[in-house]
Symmetry: C2
Subunit: 163 residues, 2 copies
DNA sequence: TGCGGATGGGAAAAATTTTCTCTATCATGC
DNA sequence: GCATGATAGAGAAAATTTTTCCCATCCGCA
């Protein structure tokens, strides 16, 4: 189980995973070793799935975000598998959801500009037959974080009477 | 400028930033020092904005994704500032865009379940008067990566005749 | 009372990052 | 053609950090 201290460790690591373990320990009131062991455990359990570098979209020329809503009449397992495989080939697609409601699928696409989006779109529809597509562009990214909320993590270690 | 080697370094670091510099150097055909210096430079220039731990949404009980489309008649600078400040207080909101088109703002919200979304929604509208709100839920996250596409990064070092 | 499991701590070993010094290459000006 | 300075690469050493090892403490329970 994840306790209060683990949660604080996760909070630190979600913001900046270059902080030395000794410093994390200091902040959460532990020495290096137990702090290190907690981090190890959370990696083994899959709570922490990895550590990655975050890039500036402007600096890598991918500052335009497009949301692509897809409504299709194709609903077979096979078609979805094919679709998912095609999408995975496009690094421009950074998020891909199957939706409830009117829209069947939603993509978030990162490109330099509208022209590049159009080129992406043509390459996409050349690869697979999708249905109705509707695209909207973001003017401004006001917040975009990889940090998930931690207030919902499963409660403290269950006490004896709860087991 | 970012050259071919820098791009390969970024590609590695976007997937996994725990790879030792010596190993990155080996993969891109450089020794440790020049590879380290390239990474340093990209951090100083702000190409790399940070390194973070990625958590498993299931394991931290935030596996439900809701997209919230907001249409408002409030368009003043002040209102947006207030709105942005309110949003930043909610760790459930992981993405926040100002949009072109019909919808004015789009939020992506991470919560454990529909009930938690409803609670979030009530807390949000208690804090600020927003206009029309429409929420759709994702059934499945097929792809979600922090890695931006790198094929658009500004061209190779300009050669003499191009300057 | 004593045992086993879980958790914390200090110190040492191992690995990695960071610095320092030295070369090679190349475009440029003389 | 040849010095010169800027740019980029390399190896070795120093500094820092991670990782391991061994031991102490606490707690529930038989």
């Amino acid at each position: 189980m994840i306790d209060r201290i683990d949660r604080r460790i996760l909070s630190i690591l979600q913001e900046d995973c270059t902080v030395p373990v000794a410093e994390i320990g200091r902040r959460v009131g532990l020495s290096t070793t137990p702090c290190w062991r907690r981090i190890q455990k959370m990696e083994e359990e899959g709570v922490i799935t990895g550590r990655v570098a975050i890039l500036d979209p402007k600096k890598v020329n991918a500052k335009v975000t497009a949301f692509v809503s897809i409504t299709t009449n194709q609903h077979s397992e096979d078609w979805l598998k094919k679709f998912a495989d095609v999408i995975r080939e496009f690094p421009e697609v950074v998020e891909f959801y199957r939706m409830a409601g009117q829209v069947d699928y939603l993509l978030r696409v990162a490109v330099p500009d509208i022209e590049a989006y159009d080129s992406f779109y043509k390459r996409l529809i050349a690869k697979i037959d999708i249905g109705d597509v509707s695209t909207t562009f973001a003017m401004e990214q006001i917040k975009n974080t990889s940090a998930l909320p931690l207030q919902y993590v499963a409660a403290e270690k269950p006490r004896a009477e709860e087991r």
